[in-house]
Each structure stands twice: as C-alpha cells, then as structure tokens.
Symmetry: C2
C-alpha cells in the first residue's frame, strides 16, 4: 500500500509498504484522512526510535472485522493499544500500559498510509453529524479534554492557557465550557483572533496578572512557557503541563514548594468525549485547518507543517 | 529580653532584645522551648532577607491576652499570620496570604527568645498528655500531616518517602497511619533503624522499584532526591515536593508529561491535627531529639545542628 515511512530520521513516501494485517480482535481500517501533529515532526527529528508508518490522528472506514457490526463504520481510534493484563491496565490506566503499542509512535504502524489496523475496543464510531474534517481532530481534542480527567476546572476558576496554537486553541475551547474565566496567551495575532471570535479573551504575555490564576495550562512546546506559567499561577494553584520537548528545563522548585503549587503532566484523553463535543458543535475546529494535501504530497506537507505558525495540515488518502 | 538575633547573615546571642509587645488580638507567650529547623539554618545562609529573632517551632505559656480564657494556657502556634482580607484569605488559603507575616521568617520576630507574640487565633492549646518535648514538634509534624490536605493517600497505595531525616521520619510515621504500604529511603542506617523499630520498611536507594510507587514524598533537601523520586513514581502517580533549597534543578519534563505524573509542592500543615496525633501517641518524636541546650548556648546549638545527620536540637529558654 501507499504510505509515509520513517527510518533513521528520514521520511519516505513509498508505494510498496506491506499491507496492514489485522490480528485477532483487530479491525482493518481504510484511512480517509489524517492530520500532522507536532509529535510527528518531533519523531522525524528522532524523538522516539521508531521505524515504520507514522501518523496517529485519523478518521477511516472499517473494511474488515471479525465482529461484523463494525463493518462499514466510520471511526476514530484510541492510539494506545494496551495489554489488559499488567498492573496499570488492572487499574484502568490503559494509556500507561507497560506493554503498550502506540499507533504511529511505538511498535505499531500508523495512519499516514492507505490502511491501518487497530483493536475494535480502541474504536469509536463517528456521529453522523461530525464531518471528516472535524473527526480528524478527535485525537488532539481528546488530549485537551483529558485535562479534566486529572484537574477539576470549576466554573469560578480563572484559567490561563499559555500557547494559542492548535492544541492551545482546542484546550481553551473545551475548558471554557466549564464556565471558567478564560484567558489565552499567545504571540500571533491571527491565532488570538480565532479565539476572540469564539468569545474567549486573549492577550500577549503582558496580559498575565502575577499569581492570580487557579489553573494554568502550558502548551507552548518550549521552556519559556513554563516560566510564564509559574508567574501566572496562584499559591495552591495548578499548572497543567502539555508540552513535551527534548532536553532539560531549569526549574527553581523552591517558590513552587512555598506556594504549594501542583504541576500536572497531561498527555492524552478520551476520544469518545471529544467526539461528543464535536457532535454538539460546541468546539469549532474548522478554522484550525491550514490546508489539505494528498498522501502523495506528504513530504511537501511535512515541510509546510514545520513552518512557524502553521495550523493543521491534513493528508488525504483517497479522492485525489 | 534574651534571644537570638539574625542580621546580615550573622547570628548573635543578645540579652537586650526589645521585649515582644502583643498588638490587638495577640497574646504574649513565654517560650518554654523551641526547635532548630533546617529553615533556620537556611535563613542564616541568607535564604530570606530577614533581620530579627528567628525560630518558629515552639511550645510556650500565654502570659498576656485580652481574652482571659487564654491566660496560663500551654500553647503551640500556627506560624503564618494572615490578614483575613485578601483574595487568598477569603478562599481560606491563610498560609498563602499575600500580606502575611511569618514567625521568625518574615516580618515577625520568632521563638528563639524568652517571649514572642502571636494572634490568639493562631494558637492551639497543647493537650495535657502531650509533653513539651513532643509539643515542640507540632509545627514540623503539621508540615508532614499537611501532605494529606493536597494528596489523598489510600490504604492500598504504595508510598515511598525519600529522605529519612527528621521531616522524612515524621512524614513516614504520619502517612503510614493511612494503612498504606510504606517504604522510606535513606542513607544513614541509624535513621532507618528508628523507622524499622516503628514497623516501617526502609532501605537504601537500591531498594526503589522503578515506577511502582503511587505516591513519592521527596524530602531530602537536595536535587538528587528529585531524580530518585522520578525513578520511583508510577505513571499517573504523585510526587510530593517538600524540599526547599536555593538554586535551579535540571528537569526533563517530557517523561513526566508522557507518564502524566503530578508534582505537588507542599509547605506547611494544620498544627491542631499534629497535636491530635501526638495526643493519641501514634507518632513518636522522642527518638528524634538529638540534644537540648539552653538559649545562652544557642550559637553552639546551631553549629551542632549543621553537622550532617544530626537530629532535632532543642533550645530551652528557662530552667537552666
């Protein structure tokens, strides 16, 4: 099949990738389209030692399954495939399963190809009123929604989101549904305007009031964002850390201890909940699409995705 | 009055310190005895720019109060004096009051003197069955008990305490009362033996199982402890940070985000709860006393307290 192959930090468009073959309990899914994520870009830089098809944000159609009720269904999928047996799985911490494979990230080919396979237990049917262009955001939107699995956001909270890119935008749109007083900090006026149009208050970093925010979400992808978060958070407040980047950050822990601040690492979240928000029409992802390109132009798409300030690039597997 | 005066990082024993004068709502307390804390040692090194009487762990007798019901009472005291008016006070986060003074630490003379003053609302009567030698531990024990105000410790949790000094010992003794499976990591056999005698499992750092602990409490006072904590904590687990020290720590946040770990800064806690545990006899602080010296030998006491592995040095204000 056709797809995008990563090997030794080199990305190749190939037409001879072995066809995805579902094992017991897995479905074969024909990928309709798939979004390029910052993690994909980091992987090309060698963030994980992965060889194979990358990509993990997708919407597709089930073409094969031992359970016929899945056939023909339009689906999104949880990307972590867990063993169900280890101590973490027995505590329902499936995404942290020590034996896990992860779609397009770890030991499992991903979605930048014509076909992929995933266990049916990982799949979620896309509601009929959710378009493909929305469904492809289910996985990153889940990562935004997932914050509320670890941190309770109260309607009276002051929430500051630091970072106004794709993830920051979806985090702001989903957390503001709590009724909280939201401020998004960014450095690109065009990104902030997208949020202002949704009635969400934004500003440059000088808009931060020192030590007033109950919850700060840091999703800039760089260490400077963490410093701003420390400045914004109130005593006994919470900083949610969404940024993953290589290397060390210099932290002065002492004020965080004195102020009894909580730092919460947050990775991914529930795709079912993300699809429900999309079906309700309360999170608008259309303005986050930069452009779409066919799979055959994937290398060009990756070049584009790495330019600063670019929003979501979608690879379309069929229809071109 | 006699006392220990800090000025320009120099500690002086003086007999001409102006007498403590209680303001409205405050009581005058004759200090019986007072413990030397790591924070006192850090203050002498310039941790805070403080001039005055240091010391904040004390037991004493109320000698003056507008409310006569306090007269003659043996008391311990909350060390943070809050304004009651600011936004943090209105949220009951009194210890974080932006206008606060802190006994012997910030804008308020402390307990290494014959007398101190504190608002009566900060005072707790010491139960009759709690000796002075126990009551003087109420403040540091409160800092241990206070962990449970931010983190719920479940009876089925695996808890690892990294650091077996005075604070680590009290943290272990108080958190183990939850019924949790406790392991204390230290590097001095004598300190570990104190805990083993209380039925608490201990070990050197090679006893840590990688990524198995639900809750890790880091109280070593140095950056190496944080690294061990990251090694011990399980995905979605919690690291409680008790250590305050000057300077930066190098942190690789990425695995903490991927594993969705929580880092919780924790400073102080409820003295009433600490006194209740002491009254119940379920926390034993006697073995934590290294020695006691009269106030007049305070400088010698500070020398001693800075030697590695020394336990609590108590300054006695009277009776010598």
């Amino acid at each position: 099949m056709r797809g995008l192959w990563l090997e030794d930090k080199k990305l190749d468009y190939r037409d001879n990738i072995p066809m995805a073959i579902p094992t017991a309990g897995e479905a074969l899914i024909r990928v309709i389209q798939s979004g390029i994520c910052q993690t994909d870009i980091e992987m090309v830089k060698g963030y994980y030692p992965f060889t194979g098809v990358i990509g993990h944000e997708f919407v597709g159609i089930v073409e094969e399954s031992q359970d016929p009720s899945w056939l023909g269904k339009r689906v999104c999928g949880e990307i972590n495939v867990s063993c169900g047996q280890c101590e973490l799985c027995r505590r329902a911490l499936y995404i942290h399963c020590t034996q896990r494979t992860v779609l397009g990230i770890w030991e499992r080919n991903g979605s930048f190809a014509e076909y992929l396979s995933l266990p049916t237990r990982n799949l979620h049917v896309v509601p009929d009123n959710v378009y493909d262009d929305q469904a492809v955001f289910a996985e990153p939107l889940a990562a935004a929604v997932g914050i509320a699995e670890q941190v309770s956001i109260r309607p009276t909270d002051r929430v500051v989101v630091i970072g106004s890119g794709k993830l920051g935008n979806m985090i702001a749109q989903s957390l503001v549904l709590s009724g909280a007083d939201m401020l998004v900090i960014g450095n690109q006026r065009s990104q902030l305007e997208l949020l202002e149009r949704r009635g969400i208050r934004t500003g440059f970093q000088d808009a931060i009031q020192d030590h007033r925010a109950d919850v700060v979400v840091e999703c800039t992808g760089n260490p400077a964002g963490f410093e701003l978060a420390c400045k914004a958070v109130r005593p006994r407040g919470t900083i949610v850390m969404k940024s993953t980047f290589k290397g060390q950050t210099q932290v002065n822990f002492s004020p965080l201890v004195v102020d009894e601040v909580s730092l919460i690492g947050s990775r991914s979240g529930p795709i079912g909940a993300a699809l429900r928000l999309l079906a309700q029409g309360v999170v608008d992802v259309h303005p986050l699409i930069e452009t779409r390109l066919p799979l055959s132009r994937a290398l060009e798409a990756f070049e584009l995705a790495q330019q600063p300030g670019k929003m979501k690039i979608i690879l379309q597997m069929t229809g071109y």
